[in-house]
């Protein structure tokens, strides 16, 4: 259970930029084993919110708790999947996947054995000894996902994980994630700017306002699990996506231009 109450986050002034209020009055609750996606206009602070849940940044005010305990830093219950994969270029696929286990002090043989199962599950067999730059973007993100799963986190935090791969690969990765979410019990927080993706994957979609970001709406996705193959054609999905689009468009129009020449 992730609880966020009245959270505020400001980034201090730096390099001539004024201080920015990134998040204000953020309130949300995510249940255990729930799959939630967070959508919002770019720059609304989605990633900042995710980083705070990960413990990589701390709120300036408000309460951020996991299972009733305040978040003071990263923890073994959480793992992050990054947009740009964040793979270590000098480590092989196997060593990248085992990296979290390595930091926890697991012996090399043991952690490589643990990584091996994920290498198989992620379809990376045969690439264990490759370096990340020898892989396509889609495969790199499979490594990123495998690395997060290797530490067996209760909470998987995904920051626009499929935004940097081509459309076809994105579709495949989404399908894999759906299977994973339906098979294993995990809380998943999925940040994206892609409404189709948010609706396809999540149990619930949270909509954020432009900066300073806050959660303006939380919508349950009225689709069964496992998700049907033709879910993009389901009228409920189409209606929900249309609604979300409308809301997002409204936000982008909301602040009128300061002056016109």
């Amino acid at each position: 259970m992730i609880t966020v109450r009245d959270v505020r986050k400001t980034f201090p002034a730096r390099n001539g930029n004024a201080a920015t209020l990134a998040l204000q009055d953020v309130n949300l609750a995510i249940g255990t084993d729930e799959f939630v996606s967070i959508v919002g206009p770019s720059g609304c602070g989605k990633t900042t919110l995710l980083r705070m849940i990960a413990g990589l940044a701390l709120p300036d005010a408000g309460v951020l708790e996991i299972d009733g305990l305040p978040v003071t830093g990263p923890g073994p219950d959480r793992a992050v999947v990054f947009q740009q994969f964040a793979l270590l270029p000098w480590a092989t696929v196997a060593d990248n996947i085992a990296f979290g286990l390595e930091l926890r002090g697991m012996a090399r043989a043991e952690r490589l054995a643990a990584a091996d199962g994920l290498i198989h599950a992620m379809g990376l067999r045969g690439f264990e000894r490759h370096y990340p730059r020898q892989l396509s973007g889609g495969m790199q993100q499979r490594v990123g996902l495998a690395r997060a799963l290797a530490v067996n986190p209760a909470i998987l935090l995904m920051d626009e994980p499929f935004a940097s791969v081509d459309a076809q690969t994105r579709r495949t990765l989404q399908d894999d994630l759906l299977k994973l979410a339906e098979r294993s019990r995990k809380t998943i927080v999925f940040v994206t700017h892609d409404i189709d993706e948010a609706v396809r994957l999540a149990d619930r979609v949270m909509l954020m306002s432009p900066r300073p970001g806050r959660i303006v709406e939380s919508l349950t996705v009225p689709l069964p699990r496992p998700r049907p193959d033709d879910l993009d054609l389901a009228p409920e999905a189409i209606r929900l996506k249309a609604y979300l689009w409308q809301q997002l468009r409204g936000m982008q129009q909301a602040p009128p231009p300061a002056s016109l020449p």
Partner: protein, 255 residues
């Protein structure tokens, strides 16, 4: 060795042979006592390396080189890493590194001799000053190329500061650090010879000056060839080491 590599090697050897032949012809057509032919130089070279005083001079020069370059590697790497990681250290040291990078060190040699004397310490210090700045700036640049996401990722897995250094920061900076050592090595060799030519006449510099004074052009050329050859070998060794310890750097995409 692939066909491509073989062709490349043959081209390089051919180019070298062409250079030697050109040198031989030019020297013969000039027939000046100041320009020895390639074959004369090669003969003098063989004669030189079979004498004890030659190796003694090499030993004298390289004491300063080894001490100065090792010091530059240790200090330069440490300072570069600290400057890349902590803004406060960067702010404090930045002006001096810039100064060191901008100063023609050769011009400062007399100052160093006045302050430190004519001994090994002064020569080692000159070598150090020649090499240190490029090592500092390259090491720092290496840290700056590290993606913030790598640090986030490691921190997310609970990395301590020590683990962060050993597992992310140093491996990430390594390619740039190696480039710094490569450049620093070349400069250190320059420093080693420069100080001996300009002020402290010992070692290889002394030999060069002596042969110049005696108009022993073939021995002079042979000495220069030796020094050049050594530099080429040492720089080649650093390149080889670089490929060995940063193999991810020249892997090609298989897509």
């Amino acid at each position: 060795m692939t066909k491509n590599q073989r062709t490349h090697r043959n081209l390089r050897l051919g180019s070298l042979a062409l250079f030697c032949a050109g040198w031989e012809l030019l020297a013969r057509s000039l027939s000046s006592m100041f320009v020895p032919s390639f074959l004369d130089t090669a003969g003098a070279f063989l004669q030189l390396v079979s004498t004890r005083p030659f190796w003694h001079a090499i030993w004298i020069s390289h004491q300063a080189f080894v001490l100065g370059f090792a010091g530059a590697v240790v200090v330069g790497t440490t300072l570069g890493l600290a400057m890349g990681r902590w803004r406060a250290v960067e702010g404090l040291c930045e002006p001096y590194v810039h100064l060191l990078l901008a100063t023609p060190i050769a011009a400062v040699i007399p100052v160093i001799i006045l302050a430190v004397g004519l001994g090994l310490a002064a020569r080692a210090l000159v070598v150090f000053l020649f090499a240190a700045a490029v090592i500092v700036v390259n090491t720092r640049a290496g840290l700056k190329t590290i993606e913030p996401a790598w640090i986030d990722m490691a921190r997310g897995f609970g990395a301590t500061e020590m683990q962060l250094w050993r597992r992310v920061l140093i491996p990430g900076a390594l390619p740039a650090m190696m480039a710094g050592y490569y450049l620093g090595l070349g400069r250190a060799l320059t420093g080693m010879i420069a100080v001996e030519l300009l002020l402290v006449a010992v070692g290889i510099g002394r030999m060069i000056l002596d042969y110049q004074g005696m108009f022993a052009a073939d021995l002079l050329y042979a000495t220069v060839v030796f020094v050049t050859g050594e530099a080429v070998l040492l720089l080649g060794a650093v390149r080889w080491l670089e490929r060995r310890i940063t193999p991810w750097n020249d892997q090609v995409t298989v897509e």
